[in-house]
């Protein structure tokens, strides 16, 4: 099973527009996974039918029973997350601050604290307009398990692909360098980095690539809005060369990206020129993938 993960470090570089376009180009060849669970937008372009849904549960959150609590305060002393405060009647837990470590419940002398598993999101397996399946999710507000949900989405996508006999999973990855993106990257066969020639785009690319390097995953890069800043474009190109990152494409600043999105379309369905560029990019990804796996 080949797994292509698209990430960007910085937001707003066109990652999701590009991933959805790859999905359209790959059509029935691939199962699609939206692992940007905090800001899952790919469904706006791929028309999923939400045909199957499943609840996703978090780790635990402490709950104090006010009828049993004696207000002794031991729970508050041991909590390292400032999640417990005193009310008139009993101690209370702020669920958004609780890490679910369960320490308070273990030391409560009267067993007033229980740990409840909370529903923090929903997982969907949908049929989409490209005649394949997409696995996606919606995370509840303030939930702290996006890393786990990302892992769930990816594993589900892999098993759906196996069931349907597809050889590939295409993943829209998460932003940043923390827990969700680590989950997005684990097990990837190839990473597509989407960036833009801005000081922040370059800065974030460098950081996220250091993470990719730790995983020893081969990578390619698409520079979007490539004509914004020639000097930084050059710096990016030097970085790609030094780090032996495949230079997949440069796409000039083009407001058709937004126009396509506004009309609920991917750029390859919307604009002939962009279709050409993005198709060539996708073909290159497939070619690299083939040669990397042969070695």
């Amino acid at each position: 099973m080949k797994e292509i993960v698209v990430i960007s470090g910085k937001g707003g570089t066109g990652k999701t527009s590009l991933t959805a376009s790859f999905a359209v180009l790959a059509g029935g060849e691939t199962v699609v996974a939206d692992c940007d669970v905090d800001a899952a937008d790919m469904h706006l372009l791929l028309e999923p039918d939400f045909s199957s849904r499943e609840e996703f549960f978090s780790g635990e959150v402490a709950v104090i029973d006010p009828d049993i609590c004696t207000n002794c305060g031991i729970c508050r002393q041991v909590c390292r997350f400032d999640a417990i405060s005193v009310s008139e009647r009993s101690h209370i837990v702020a669920p958004l601050s609780c890490e679910g470590c369960g320490y308070c419940a273990r030391v409560c002398p009267v067993q007033a604290i229980s740990n409840n598993s909370e529903q923090v999101g929903e997982l969907y397996v949908s049929s989409i307009k490209t005649d394949t399946k997409m696995v996606h999710a919606a995370l509840k507000i303030g939930a702290d398990n996006s890393g786990k949900l990302v892992a769930r989405v990816k594993n589900e996508a892999k098993s759906v692909a196996e069931e349907l006999g597809k050889a590939m999973v295409l993943v829209d990855g998460s932003p940043g360098i923390g827990c969700p993106v680590v989950s997005s990257l684990s097990g990837a066969s190839f990473v597509v980095l989407v960036t833009e020639p801005t000081v922040s785009g370059l800065h974030d690319l460098k950081r996220v690539y250091q993470l990719v390097k730790k995983f020893k995953i081969p990578a390619g890069c698409v520079v979007n809005k490539a004509d914004l800043n020639p000097q930084i474009l050059q710096e990016i190109e030097t970085l790609l060369q030094d780090e032996q990152i495949h230079y997949l494409a440069k796409i000039p600043y083009n407001e058709e990206f937004t126009a396509a999105m506004t009309n609920g379309k991917t750029v390859v369905e919307w604009d002939q020129n962009l279709r050409q560029t993005v198709s060539e990019t996708w073909q290159q990804v497939l070619k690299i993938l083939e040669s990397e796996t042969k070695e």
Partner: protein
């Protein structure tokens, strides 16, 4: 007054607004800016200042000391994150999974798991005239941003609590890192763009703010691009649109070079002034 600049979607202009607003406000008030997007901090690329101090930031994780350990297994039992495992005659600790709750360490009957500091990132304080600027950067490979965000907020509130404005450049999304920053704010400014992705993620951000019960208003960036669906949504929901920032290739180019926008783009300066007046209005309301 604590003002957090946030957005559901990444790349809508949080850092642009945070840096321009902080510098603009510092023309007439004492301001501190904090970059709390510790995974990918960018504010420092736009606000250069003189470095005042730099510290390593630590989290505390257990380390096994076998001398007294009788392998009772309590540590493994009490860890909810599978960060401590008893394997044969050994206790294994996985620091990247540790949430730093201290349960294993403090509940260990033989004191065999002392908590040891481990560097998770760096905090730097800069000064740029009347503006103080704090930036934290998470080490690559470190998975949890929240502990560093908490320490950075603490430092800001401690060192700069007396400033007229504290501006927080928040992480993107709606999960725990952004909650950590916005829950303490007196006002949250949600930056969005007039596109379907912008609207979808704005709705999530609005739900988050409502759940937290914090005051918020919206700034529409790249106005003129896309369509009017964000404006219609805000009108239906009675959400204040504080101001708009126009879509302009020149803005994108200035941004690409790491330059502030308002000194050369009058529309941006006007927008910042509108935000300043809005903040004053909200402050007056909350006092009365």
């Amino acid at each position: 007054m604590k003002i957090a600049i946030a957005s559901g979607k990444g790349g809508t202009g949080k850092t642009t607004l945070s840096t321009n607003l902080a510098v603009y406000l510092s023309e007439s008030a004492r301001v501190a800016l904090g970059d709390l997007d510790v995974e990918e901090p960018n504010s420092g690329l736009y606000v250069q200042g003189e470095e005042i101090e730099r510290h390593d930031k630590f989290k505390y994780v257990p380390r096994w000391n076998p001398a007294q350990c009788d392998l009772c297994g309590t540590c493994q039992l009490v860890c909810n994150f599978n960060a401590v495992l008893k394997l044969g005659q050994q206790i294994m600790v996985f620091p990247e999974l540790c949430h730093g709750c201290y349960a294993c360490s403090e509940l260990c009957p033989t004191g065999s798991l002392p908590m040891i500091p481990q560097k998770m990132g760096e905090l730097t304080v800069f000064r740029r005239g009347p503006l103080d600027f704090v930036e934290s950067q998470l080490n690559i490979g470190e998975e949890q941003a929240v502990p560093l965000i908490k320490q950075t907020l603490k430092q800001m509130n401690g060192s700069f609590g007396d400033r007229e404005y504290l501006i927080y450049d928040s992480p993107p999304g709606t999960s725990c890192p952004v909650i950590e920053v916005t829950k303490e704010a007196d006002l949250v400014i949600l930056v969005t763009e007039p596109t379907p992705f912008g609207l979808h993620d704005l709705k999530l951000a609005v739900e988050t703010m409502r759940e937290l019960g914090v005051e918020f208003g919206v700034v529409i960036n790249r106005h003129g691009l896309g369509d009017d669906r964000v404006e219609r949504y805000c009108a239906e929901q009675s959400i204040d649109i504080i101001t708009t920032i126009p879509n302009h290739r020149k803005i994108a180019e200035l941004y690409s070079r790491g330059e502030l926008l308002y000194p050369s783009i009058p529309e941006v300066k006007n927008a910042l002034e509108k935000i300043r007046l809005y903040i004053l209005e909200r402050r007056k309301e909350s006092r009365s």
